[in-house]
Symmetry: C2
Subunit: 461 residues, 2 copies
């Protein structure tokens, strides 16, 4: 029923649905009219009698509407004078984002890094685990819970990490976090000071998490250069010892000792990002650095690679001296990670479904790795490939005279997504020319197709 | 099979289960022995031949164990000399927490505030919603997702908040957070500067979230004193206009305008904590302050009261000018709230189960409120009760001459949990003597029992 006001009030089109509650409709439409500026600040409202007549409603209904909108601050009225739109009203609309450029055609093969296979995420297991938790958890588990993390999950993680990563800790020193990123941020803020970071590595991520400057320290075939670290003056370093990100180098035994000795000497701390150590192919995984020096190493882990990034579940294993401060920081940050998600993860660990999923994924990634290596060996034999001991990415070393950016651009034209090492270097140096070939979310078929399409670009010209 | 080493190596008891993989067992036990200090730093290990003989294993197995532990840094060996425990090993055990004092006997009735009924948490609805999401979500939803929040949830929240809270926003200005606490922290860190807070109110919470000093501003029967706010010099204030926490006062219309005018005048911002507005009994809820001045008010909401605190889901509705900065802060904090939980909430909204749960809870809380009021009227008629227009707590004003702390202590002896207003005052002033009686997680039976047990304590002596 369209109604046009005139004379005593502003022009306003109102549509009422006579089969639904009328007062709520009138109220809502007046509020929207004020919020969108159709009724402007200071404007005189029609009298309740006039509006009631227009709308064919009782005057009482309109009076109630006006009273409600007055209590909320949209209308003002003084004894003996007309009701008006309040003058304090304002409108706030964001500037619309610029239209996106025409979308590029979809890629035929893409080799991004750091993402596991999303199509094989354990959907059914997760739904099952959440249902089990909702069915069996005590009422109290629906409360805020322990900001440090559910005690049961901290116990289970302690045992699991000892078993598979030789981590040496206890539930009191574990904090459950919203993924790796939150754990890193909490720890770096507690530690403070300049933070050293592997170069190439996650320079940008660490810098953002630290909220301050980072000091890049070079990585060679043995892992991080501990001499250069010592010379940097930093007393905190973030490292990926089991499978350096992104070079794939494993930190050599002598360097492991040197790194721990450095931390002891300068009263410093080592933050160990153990991001993909579950996926090791040729031999069993190198145990965590944390187990060697639990008083000097903070171990950070996540299910983003083993289950799915969408779950945002991770943990920090802390030296006793830091546990209280990091728990306090976590409590201030968000009062704890979602409790039901934590208990669902416990259920996956305890039922053996976590391990089963890992075994399945390890077999799949190992097969992809073989497909990648054999495709490169066959089609681009001059390309050296390294970093494949674990995880789901490889480094392709381009022959001399082949420029990283050229290869990436030419591959994009053939609808293949390739990514260069230069973006992980603190200086963005394009040399030596290397590609970081991720295959976590890239099927065997896509790998074959992709390498087939770009093999000639990778070879010596 | 217990084995004792002697002669060439340290004494070490090892138990091997011959039916399970042996190499992993030996490795694990050696690692644990080193981590726990049973094998000390620098100690000489038995030769691989000797250990193999002792354990009745092939020498190759022991050599593999030693090689693995050497790669991990637990052992060191130089050509021509014995393998030794690395000298960089250390042990880190937290000081055990002091034993808890003997537990107090359980309460017969407890009146804590700020917690909804945990026994009525929508377990089945949540499990169903997660299953629907796991069944139907696109593969890409298992990736990191949008740090600002799932676009679908931001759309649904925009519509829902417009409908029930008269919030005026769009999806581009909404950020999904890990509960109220995270939203508050992100917003206050972006805004910076001293933060004004209602007194009595959540002084401690806000101070922690702000990471700095707060300025208490008195609350009277009309809500926050805007004159005092203006005099404080702060340009950011955190308020609870719909149902002041904890006094239960509704911010008066004139004060709503004065508050918005204050923000405009000093280029300041109002953070609106809309914590329990879904539960309003006598009339429809007062619309949010945010709708009046979307460019000056940050609206914070949560499902902690409507569904359960364990879910850790909330949102911030932002002025356009702040949206980009808060989204960036959220991305750094944790790369976004768990995606599947967000989509499950969408499913609850869209299926109508969210509204249905709210209706059910509203009826239940209204019944408890009636039970509380009638018990107090009958048994402690001299106690004035206020703040009951919404939510699930009330303020009991104790008669002159009755001390808050005495009542609380005496009630505790009768196994009834009562909580005083003084803890919410910046000065902890015990006067006027008032109790904050929460009944969100207190059954009707408990309310009757509890008030029966303490009524004489509340009355004029």
């Amino acid at each position: 029923m369209p109604v046009e006001w005139s004379g005593s009030g502003p022009q306003l089109l109102m549509e009422l649905d006579r089969s639904a509650p009328l007062r709520a409709q009138v109220e809502e439409q007046l509020r929207t009219a004020i919020q969108t500026g159709r009724l402007v600040a200071g404007e005189r409202m029609p009298s309740t009698r006039a509006l009631a007549t227009y709308l064919r409603l009782s005057r009482g209904v309109i009076q109630e509407c006006y009273a409600q909108l007055q209590a909320e601050g949209y209308l003002t009225s003084r004894a003996g004078s007309a009701t008006r739109v309040a003058t304090t009203i304002s409108i706030d609309r964001p500037t619309p984002a610029p239209l996106l450029a025409a979308e590029a055609p979809p890629l035929l093969a893409d080799f991004p890094s750091g993402v596991p296979d999303l199509g094989l995420a354990p959907r059914a297991d997760w739904a099952w685990a959440v249902r089990e938790v909702c069915r069996t958890a005590a009422d109290a588990e629906f409360d805020y819970g322990d900001a440090q993390g559910a005690p049961r999950l901290r116990e289970v993680l302690t045992g699991y990490l000892r078993r598979v990563r030789a981590v040496d800790t206890c539930a009191a020193n574990v904090v459950v976090c919203g993924g790796f990123q939150q754990g890193l941020g909490l720890v770096l803020r507690v530690l403070g000071g300049p933070v050293a970071v592997e170069d190439p590595g996650s320079v940008g991520n660490v810098t953002r998490a630290a909220g301050g400057a980072t000091v890049p320290v070079p990585v060679d075939e043995q892992g991080i250069d501990v001499g250069a670290l010592a010379a940097s003056g930093a007393r905190v370093v973030v490292v990926t010892p089991a499978h350096q990100w992104p070079t794939g180098v494993v930190l050599a035994p002598a360097r492991r000792h040197a790194l721990v000795a450095w931390a002891r000497e300068c009263d410093g701390y080592i933050v160990e990002d153990d991001y993909d150590a579950e996926f090791r192919y040729d031999r069993e995984p190198v145990g965590s650095l944390q187990g060697l020096a639990p008083d000097r190493v903070i171990g950070l882990g996540t299910v983003s690679k083993s289950l799915a990034p969408a779950l945002r579940l991770g943990w920090a294993v802390l030296p006793s001296a830091l546990a209280t401060a990091v728990v306090a920081a976590k409590a201030v940050a968000d009062r704890g990670t979602p409790q039901l998600d934590q208990l669902a993860l416990v259920t996956l660990f305890e039922s053996g479904r976590y391990d089963r999923h890992l075994r399945r994924m390890r077999t799949e990634y190992a097969a992809r790795r073989d497909v990648l290596v054999s495709a490169l060996t066959r089609l681009a034999p001059s390309v050296r490939v390294t970093g494949l001991a674990a995880g789901f990415h490889a480094i392709a070393h381009l022959p001399a005279g082949v420029a990283e950016a050229d290869v990436i651009a030419a591959a994009r034209e053939r609808r293949v997504g390739l990514y260069g090492m230069s973006t992980y270097r603190s200086t963005h140096d394009p040399s030596p020319a290397q590609l970081v070939l991720g295959f976590g979310n890239t099927s065997q078929h896509e790998i074959r197709t992709g390498i087939g399409l770009v093999a000639d670009l990778l070879s010596r010209r």
